[in-house]
């Protein structure tokens, strides 16, 4: 019996050594471990062994079967690994082939800039109001302290659609509409499209502005500057600051022009700031008493600050765009450079 097992063992090793693939392995299993396989035959022979020897021989056969099975499993593992490796090799691709085109799109740089600006002020507690683009003379001029014969009407070349109905020349009429609807405390931002009869390298007949208005008790010029400092630092970087200088708008008194320290050279002077260290970014001031009174807000009790920012101006500074018409030509080579 032992002889038989030994012989079978040699036979088994020889078969294993010749196996090259999973199919042969499966044949091998049938040959040795199948219902009619050689190990089953061996078990049949166990009946012929004497009763006394049977446990010992049974043990030997079992041991042989276990060791044979272990050898089989080991080979199976090896073959699986080889198979996997072959498959991986065959499936390997040229990863430098071009990528599949995914849909790509972006917001316009004016929208990106506008959204950034809104985010800054929304965080300060500003609501966002949008007024009509076609306005009446009353909201656009008269109630903003620009009387019929006021020289400031000449400063803005106005498009008319009827005698008293115009394309708004600024977002400032939003101030009037907000103050008519709401009483202080007011913090509101009015972004929108505005129109002026002007067209050259720095002017487009339509452009975007963002008006800001705060009306509350004890609002001062210091508050205007403090708030605008935060705004410019958010937009242009932590290290910039603002400078106020006198200006004139009919709806603010005092009125200021606001410059930002040059974010390109840090104020030392460069081409961007025309070697002055400062860049003009917006206008503002303390809301004119007449404007508050025109909206039924008592100027003795409340005061306000207002500012107006050209969105194109900010976008052009941020992205280094030197001609406003690029923003309205909508050339895809330009638009595709923006991501948002």
């Amino acid at each position: 019996m032992e002889e038989l097992i030994k012989k079978l063992g040699e036979q088994l090793d020889a078969s294993l050594a010749n196996i090259r693939g999973k199919e042969e392995l499966s044949d091998f299993w049938q040959e040795f471990f199948g219902k009619k396989g050689k190990i089953a035959d061996l078990m049949k022979n166990l009946g012929k062994v004497s009763k006394e020897e049977r446990p010992a021989v049974g043990k030997i056969i079992n041991e042989f079967k276990e060791s044979a099975e272990a050898k089989y499993r080991e080979l199976e593992k090896k073959l699986d690994a080889a198979e996997l490796e072959r498959r991986n090799r065959e499936e390997t691709i040229d990863i430098t082939l071009p990528a599949k085109k995914q849909p790509k799109g972006s917001l316009h740089p004016i929208t990106i800039t506008k959204n950034e600006m809104i985010n800054v002020f929304a965080g300060m507690g500003f609501e966002i109001f949008e007024g009509p683009e076609i306005e009446d003379d009353d909201h656009n001029f008269t109630r903003l302290n620009v009387a019929k014969n006021h020289p400031a009407r000449d400063m803005q070349d106005t498009f008319y659609v009827a005698e008293d109905i115009i394309l708004r020349t600024h977002t400032s009429p939003g101030q009037i509409r907000v103050m008519d609807a709401k009483k202080p405390p007011i913090k509101v931002l009015v972004p929108g499209r505005v129109f002026r009869s002007d067209s050259d390298a720095t002017h487009s007949p339509m452009f975007h502005q963002m008006e800001g208005l705060v009306v509350d008790k004890h609002i001062t010029l210091c508050d205007l500057q403090g708030m605008l400092d935060k705004f410019v630092q958010n937009i242009f970087g932590e290290n910039v600051k603002t400078r106020l200088r006198p200006s004139y708008f009919p709806f603010t008194e005092p009125s200021v022009e606001v410059d930002v320290s040059c974010f390109e050279c840090g104020g030392k002077g460069c081409g961007l700031c025309k070697h002055t260290g400062w860049i003009e970014v917006l206008g503002g001031g303390i809301v004119h008493r007449n404007v508050l009174a025109n909206c039924g807000i008592d100027p003795e009790e409340y005061s306000g600050l207002a500012f107006g920012i050209g969105i194109e101006r900010i976008a052009m500074l941020k992205y280094g765009i030197n001609n406003i018409s690029l923003l309205f030509e909508n050339d895809l080579r330009f638009l595709r450079q923006f991501r948002d």
Partner: protein, 805 residues
């Protein structure tokens, strides 16, 4: 406005440089747009004294020995000028000199074989004319005065060591539109006194004439002062006056004309001189023109007037267009013996309208449009009479005539609380500084505890409301650098941020970006021609457009009633620039009038426009975008063949319906429109243009209310593929609808293949659908599914005659 530095110095002792003054003016609200250095182009040109002057035979040249002081007292310079003589003082450009007409610095080079170490110059070569420096226009060398010293910088000698400030004056400060006005500001900045120009004059008591002036339109002529000058002698005005005029760009004409121009620049008051003897009845009547009345102005242009125009008349006829220009029938000339000076205030909007409507804009009208104070009107007449006397060119009548509508002759008074100034500025400016600043600006100030009684100067008509005006005056002189930023320190906390509607519009844009579109920004207006291109019928509601009364160009005349032409413009301009494919969108307003002509604010309706163009794009790109939008906002769109979209291809376009409401259309650009576009067909199929437009407002009204989660089935979804043979004309959408109608468990039925050919009969097509069955509370068995499929096939056969393949 141009202000020569030397002229400013006539009224203020300025002890700082032009550059320093420029900075200080900027800080006080006067931006110097350009500081022009008159000597900038002239370097190394000095006074030379001709010591010897020998003709070079056979030429027109002289060889000169020139004393240039410290630059060499024996320089040899060849000279071709005919007027050179020994002892002449002339400008000598040294080797290395720069001059306005020279491209590069002067070199020593021989002239006709004679060494020459420089060049003797004419006035013209220095950029001078007779007004800037007398004698500059003679042919030949500039013959300088004999008291000039050899070697002196020529700019100092001829008055080019000067600057011109080109100052931008804000609209609220017409009082600064003059040399004296700026001098007042400079004096305040430097803490100096203003030296007022002389105003005194002596009258000739023997003249028995008093100007006779009637103002019939005091509403637009609140002040008119006339004064006569007799026995006028015409001559050239003095060099100093001509120089100042020339520096500001005005040529000298004669003493009388120059006086009026000089006063306009010095004080900001336009003046006019009439020939008294040409005035019928020797009187002046100021009135509105009659309808159709005509006047010919000094420049020989004839104008037909209306009662909106103000005219100055004599006893019979108009003799000047008020505030704009004198008439040709009454102007002074070399034969004038007696004249009448006019110094008047006309209202600025009247002059502006007249100048605009007649297209006659003059220096005078531009001063009037900015605004003139009556104080200046009074000053100007006195100054004119003073200059008549100073120049000795006439005898002054004892009395003039001053007609006033009665405006007060004092400055406006305000009581200003010092603490109120602080509450505007946010910082406390010491009371002493406030008082000092106001006084330096010619305000009268009396202290009364915490209150200042302030009287504004008469010329400051911009000071209207008191404290805020005063606060501004104080801070602009005190310095904005004193403002210390605070962050809304006393303001209430407020809730901020975007409204839900604003957030949704932001989402709409993000969705379009995610669908592969780039946002564009187009103008809100275009032309009739662009609307015509869309072939929209003349009686369509879209043809009710709002027109600009004063368009900037013929391309921008109407407020757009639809977005499509704007987007088509973008597509076409991109194709022309070689961008042959792309997807774009815009969410922007269109304008719908409530009535025409417009009498109230129109409706502004946000529309979403989108377009795709180029190779690989087709109708289904846009349909995919529409489906993407529907999906993003929880809507279901249905599609019908487009009606009323004449700019789209009739067979390749669809209307979008949502909840049964048409909200937009999309499709391929109509062949008829394509044919009119100025595009060249090229290999990249640039004619493949698709446009879509959705009424965003109508769509957003259909947005579902807050989204609620639906429980998901625990049982698996079952998918079955069906290949169906249909007539060629059967529409996919109809099949899908019937499949859904046949079985309530069908959630989706998606076409994935169409086959035409040998395997199916002619005139038929095979369409393969993937059908999704979603179970409800119990799992679906094979038998269930088989039953559903049978129902579906039965219905398809009945309704559409479809067989399974």
């Amino acid at each position: 406005m141009k202000v020569p530095f030397s002229w400013l110095k006539e009224y203020v002792d300025i002890d700082i440089s032009a550059q320093e003054l420029e900075k200080k003016l900027f800080g006080c609200g006067f931006e110097v747009e350009e500081l022009i250095d008159l000597s900038a182009q002239i370097n190394k040109v000095v006074v030379g004294i001709i010591k010897e002057c020998t003709p070079i035979e056979g030429t027109h040249l002289h060889i000169c020995k020139v004393d240039c002081g410290k630059y060499g007292n024996d320089l040899q310079i060849a000279c071709g000028a005919p007027n050179v003589y020994v002892g002449m003082h002339a400008p000598a450009a040294l080797v290395g000199a720069t001059l306005p007409g020279l491209d590069e610095p002067l070199k020593a080079k021989p002239l006709r074989g004679v060494d020459s170490f420089g060049m003797l110059c004419s006035g013209e070569e220095l950029g001078l004319n007779d007004d800037l420096f007398p004698g500059s226009e003679v042919y030949g060398l500039l013959d300088l005065p004999k008291e000039t010293e050899a070697g002196t910088d020529i700019c100092k000698v001829v008055g080019l060591d000067d600057y011109i400030f080109d100052i931008s004056v804000t609209a609220n400060r017409p009082d600064c539109q003059s040399v004296l006005g700026m001098a007042r500001e400079v004096a305040a900045i430097l803490g100096k006194e203003v030296k007022m120009p002389s105003l005194d004059y002596t009258v000739s008591g023997d003249i028995d004439f008093k100007a006779d002036i009637t103002v019939e339109a005091p509403d637009i002529c609140p002040r008119y002062i006339g004064h006569t000058v007799h026995d006028v002698t015409f001559a050239q005005s003095p060099a100093w006056m001509r120089r100042y005029l020339a520096l500001c760009g005005i040529r000298g004409i004669s003493n009388i004309v120059d006086i009026t121009n000089f006063i306009m620049l010095e004080l900001g008051q336009p003046m006019h001189a009439f020939d008294l003897d040409l005035l019928d009845e020797k009187r002046i009547v100021v009135r509105r023109a009659t309808e159709g009345e005509k006047i010919t102005t000094l420049d020989e242009k004839e104008f037909t007037l209306t009662p909106n125009n103000l005219v100055i008349c004599d006893g019979k006829k108009p003799v000047a267009l008020a505030g704009v220009m004198g008439g040709i029938n009454s102007g002074i000339n070399e034969n004038t013996k007696n004249l009448l000076f006019e110094s008047a205030k006309f209202t600025r909007d009247n002059i502006r309208k007249t100048a605009r409507s007649l297209g006659q804009n003059t220096d005078a009208s531009s001063f009037y449009e900015k605004g003139i104070s009556e104080y200046t009107t009074e000053l100007a007449i006195k100054r004119a009479l003073h200059l008549i006397q100073e120049l000795g060119c006439g005898r002054i009548a004892p009395e003039g005539c001053d007609v006033s509508a009665g405006a007060p002759r004092e400055g406006k008074r305000f009581d200003v609380k010092i603490s109120d100034i602080e509450s505007i500025l946010g910082i406390a400016v010491p009371a002493a500084d406030i008082i000092r600043i106001l006084r330096s600006l010619c305000f009268e100030v009396a202290e009364n505890g915490d209150i200042l009684n302030v009287t504004a100067p008469r010329w400051r008509e911009d000071i209207e409301i008191g404290t805020p005006d005063i606060a501004e005056e104080v801070i602009r002189e005190y310095g904005y650098e004193h403002v210390t930023p605070t962050f809304l320190k006393d303001a209430a906390v407020t809730g901020g941020g975007l409204t839900p509607d604003q957030q949704l519009r932001g989402k709409m844009k993000s969705v379009m970006c995610a669908l592969g579109c780039y946002e564009v920004s187009t103008l809100g207006f275009y032309s009739d021609a662009e609307l015509d291109l869309t072939r929209i019928a003349p009686d369509s509601p879209e043809r009710n457009v709002i027109r600009l009364i004063n368009p900037i160009s013929a391309n921008l005349t109407i407020m757009r009633p639809i977005l499509a032409p704007s987007l088509l413009n973008v597509v076409v301009s991109n194709i022309k620039r070689g961008n042959f494919d792309g997807r774009i969108f815009e969410l922007s307003n269109i304008y719908v009038p409530k009535q025409l002509p417009v009498t109230e604010l129109p409706d502004e309706i946000p529309h979403l426009g989108f377009a795709a163009f180029g190779e690989g794009e087709d109708f289904f790109t846009l349909k995919g975008i529409a489906e993407g939008i529907a999906d993003a906002f929880g809507l279901t769109f249905e599609y019908e063949r487009a009606k009323n979209a004449p700019y789209l291809h009739p067979g390749i376009s669809a209307d979008i319906l949502c909840n049964g409401v048409k909200i937009g259309s999309f499709g391929k650009l109509a062949n008829e429109v394509l044919g009119t576009l100025d595009l060249v067909k090229d290999s990249r199929d640039s004619f493949n243009i698709f446009l879509g437009e959705i009424d965003y407002k109508a769509m957003s009204a259909l947005f579902p209310a807050a989204m609620r989660y639906k429980p998901i089935s625990e049982n698996p979804t079952v998918i079955r593929d069906l290949a169906l043979v249909t007539d060629e004309s059967t529409l996919c959408g109809d099949i899908v609808n019937e499949i859904k109608a046949a079985c309530s468990f069908v959630r989706g039925a998606e076409l994935f293949d169409i086959y035409r050919g040998g395997q199916v009969a002619a005139g038929k097509k095979s369409m393969a659908f993937k059908i999704e069955f979603v179970p409800e509370d119990k799992a679906l068995s094979q038998d269930d599914i088989n039953g559903f499929v049978e129902n579906i096939l039965a219905r398809l056969k009945e309704k559409l005659g479809i067989e399974i393949r």
